[in-house]
Symmetry: C2
């Protein structure tokens, strides 16, 4: 997805939030805002937003010296999600359409992104999303690809959300490669987060190698690229991965909540809508 003008204020906002998460030193935060401000002129509208966000989070690390400011919150969020796991599992098991229930929960898990929204209440939002109508629900295509595929490449988004992904993976009953970020970036899931969420029990966890908050292929490892290139059934969670992969030519199923207006417009839905959108199927 291209960068829109509306992404520009959001870049400054992202820098501010990440900077505040990393440090209380106002001089460092000011320096971060100054430097990100100066970056704006170098943003090409043809680039994807995570390409710019990647540079912003690199600056946060460089200026604050903190390589993983979201560590504690990620750990807490995963722990919180794990306490929900037994009741979520029962919800899936009690459903007449277990796969659809697991799909719903996988999208509901995407609301746990404290990188994009300022306030969130996990349990209330899960319940609400579980009832909500999908603006796009390509579940027929999803079932078709699930039936004909032996393997699934599952690209994760935030920590915490991994627990919800686990429920879907358990229902899919396929060989799953679960892809996480190569290094910590915002609250995105890394290897450590996926293991904490128990994904090692149901999938092969693999870092993509990227340090961007989205799977920008050019920044991923050769090993991941090889696996990606031969995948015929890819699940992609969240906005950052959508922004990085929505113009790709492989069959990809995007699970996301459209948290910002720009992405909602690009997807063709309203802000706040939830979608399971398939491309190239």
């Amino acid at each position: 997805m291209q960068t829109y003008f509306d992404c520009f204020p959001c870049f400054i906002d992202q820098a501010l939030r990440a900077g505040r998460m990393a440090t209380d030193d106002e001089r460092k935060i000011k320096r971060l805002l100054d430097e990100v401000g100066m970056m704006l002129k170098d943003i090409r509208l043809e680039s994807t937003p995570p390409e710019t966000a990647r540079l912003i989070y690199q600056k946060v690390k460089k200026i604050t010296g903190k390589s993983d400011p979201y560590r504690k919150i990620k750990k807490e969020n995963t722990a919180k999600a794990l306490t929900l796991y037994p009741s979520l599992k029962r919800t899936v098991e009690a459903s007449s359409d277990r796969l659809l229930a697991a799909i719903r929960l996988a999208v509901a898990g995407n609301v746990m992104d404290f990188g994009a929204s300022k306030d969130f209440d996990i349990e209330a939002e899960i319940n609400e999303i579980f009832q909500r109508k999908f603006a796009i629900l390509d579940s027929t295509e999803f079932r078709e690809y699930l039936d004909k595929s032996e393997e699934v490449l599952f690209i994760a988004d935030n920590a915490g959300e991994c627990v919800f992904d686990r429920l879907l993976i358990e229902e899919m009953k396929k060989r799953v490669t679960y892809v996480v970020r190569g290094v910590p970036v915002v609250n995105d899931a890394t290897y450590e987060d996926a293991v904490q969420a128990g994904l090692d029990k149901v999938a092969l966890i693999m870092p993509s190698g990227t340090d961007a908050p989205g799977t920008i292929l050019a920044t991923c490892s050769q090993e991941f690229r090889r696996i990606y290139d031969r995948s015929s059934f890819i699940i992609s969670k969240g906005q950052g991965n959508y922004e990085a992969l929505c113009d790709e030519k492989r069959p990809i199923f995007f699970f996301l909540k459209a948290k910002c207006e720009v992405i909602a417009k690009d997807v063709g839905v309203n802000q706040g809508d939830i979608v399971l959108k398939a491309i190239n199927v």
Copy 2:
């Protein structure tokens, strides 16, 4: 009021909105965002936000060549407000406390700021605000100053809002100098807007001379400064004037709706709250 870090994303957002109002040329909008991005490093946190906003709107004019992009909308808003005038006047006249009703309407008029909020519905919001509790209501002090003063310096905010100010001025029954911006800046009221709203019938309209979206005294005319310096009863409408004048030493009554979190925090209220706050009384 100082500049807070949260003002930084908002500066970019203001530039974007003003740029879009002035032109459809994406290259010009990009250039504007680039240049405003580069400005961030020069912002001193001790400066007031309108000082930066002033530079932003100067850039919008320079890059787009449009000196008054809000002209049409301002005119329409004033015309719309004028259609409401008779019923608003009846509301005041039917009130047991006419002055308080006019105070309420003067604050309600402040919601007409399409510079700060993206969506607005005037009539619904007027009715809602008319019922709403003020978070701060220094009306006792206001009545006291009104009783002991012969003259009032009334600093206007947005066009359209002038019609609501007129209702208050009519109730105050004092000699009022009604202060507008020196040149067009966003949707703020200029001489032309005030005349359209009929303020020339109830007050002496005077431009402050500033080209900022707030009464930054250093940017005002000598003539205005002289009148300001001898005023002992000042009414200031809206956020921009609050930001520019809240640390002044004269008796000022701020009428505003706290549209953003930063100002709400500075005033000591919640975002969305309405206030009539007196200082130095």
